[in-house]
């Protein structure tokens, strides 16, 4: 049993953890551009509600990016993406005393962003980990799983490991020993994704963004039989 900590220690920990945040110039300009987009969408919805289907079509056209305030698309980096052969069980997940590495049992590499990929694999244990690396920093990654407890994830993806693992509740009781089919999307950094984006409608976001070259790889790590 660890000793209780004081409030002072909590404050110190919070301050220490937030030292040296990454710099982000033009944050205000980017927020204003995103705010303008929100306003344009709202006006388009209002217009469609007010004047019916014809206006709705115009509104949809207005809601499309006009390119004026959109960030410049990231340069595609046509390099190979290599996944590590093994990854450790996450220490922060309570496996502190299980110094164990899981081997790569399956992987796929793709060279375009903006296209859906179906990933089929069989989970061999309840410790299955998936890992995605994207050659273009700050790409968007959407993983639509077949797990009832956790239907979809949206997150950023870059050249480093992006590891994730279900906990037993999220995975569901029929996780191990069963084949799974997931749908993965990797979209360019400028894709219009924000806190209101519905993962189930990511195909529409992808259609607006378009496809472009960009290597990414996904791997499944698990215990071999």
């Amino acid at each position: 049993m660890t000793m209780p900590r004081s409030e002072r220690e909590l404050v110190v920990m919070l301050r220490e953890r937030t030292e040296n945040p990454p710099a982000a110039p033009e944050r205000g300009e980017r927020a204003a551009a995103l705010g303008q987009r929100i306003l344009r969408r709202r006006r388009a919805v209002r217009a469609s509600l007010a004047t019916g289907a014809v206006a709705a079509l115009i509104g949809a056209a207005l809601a499309l990016p006009d390119g004026k305030d959109d960030p410049i698309p990231a340069e595609a980096v046509p390099v190979s993406v290599r996944l590590p052969a093994k990854v450790p069980l996450p220490a922060k997940a309570g496996h502190l005393f299980r110094n164990e590495n899981l081997p790569l049992i399956q992987s796929e590499q793709h060279d375009r962003m903006g296209e859906p990929v179906r990933l089929r694999f069989t989970a061999l244990s309840t410790d299955t980990i998936y890992n995605v690396r994207c050659s273009v920093p700050d790409s968007w990654l959407v993983v639509k799983t077949d797990s009832p407890g956790r239907a979809a994830d949206i997150g950023r993806c870059g050249p480093r490991d992006h590891l994730a693992q279900f906990d037993p509740q999220s995975a569901g009781t029929a996780w191990a020993g069963r084949p799974h089919t997931w749908e993965l999307w990797v979209l360019p950094p400028e894709a219009e994704i924000n806190g209101t984006t519905d993962p189930e409608k990511i195909d529409k976001v992808a259609a607006r963004t378009g496809t472009r070259p960009g290597t990414w790889a996904v791997g499944i790590y698990d215990r071999r039989k």
């Binding site: 409030e7 220690e9 945040p21 205000g28 300009e29 997940a93 990654l141 994730a164």
Partner: protein, 164 residues
Amino acid sequence: MADRSGFTGYVEEHSDRLLRLAYLLTQDWARAEDLLQTALAKAWVAWGRVSDDPSPYVYRILTNTHASWWRRRWRGEVPTARLPETARPDPTTAFDDRDAMWTALARLSDRQRAVVVLHYFESLPLAQVARILGCSVSSVRTQLRRALLRLRVDPTLQALKEAR
């Protein structure tokens, strides 16, 4: 047309601090930046209404947006239900202890984490935390008590240490 002339100045003055707050909610700098961008964009839209005192509004958007993202956002490593414990207290492992506290912070509910961060990092009184989160002060107290319990923080300890 709303007057948004003060928006850029507000962002320049406060965004580093707001990013830190977002990081404490998300524990991921990239996600924190996304969360902050979303909150600032919404603040930009509402600037005509909130420009007199935008921070409470931005705090509310940060905490609400993070709560709505949480279920479908990339979580990275998924914590288990128990804290990593050492067999006995080790005074030489302060950093390990803070690591454990950081891990425990990730396991709090969104509301509990928001209460902890707003109160202990932003130093906001509980009444103001309650206004930001749209709940009663007693509810905030309850959330804070539960959070401290899970973080193994004993509020009486500091007073005892200072009395020594």
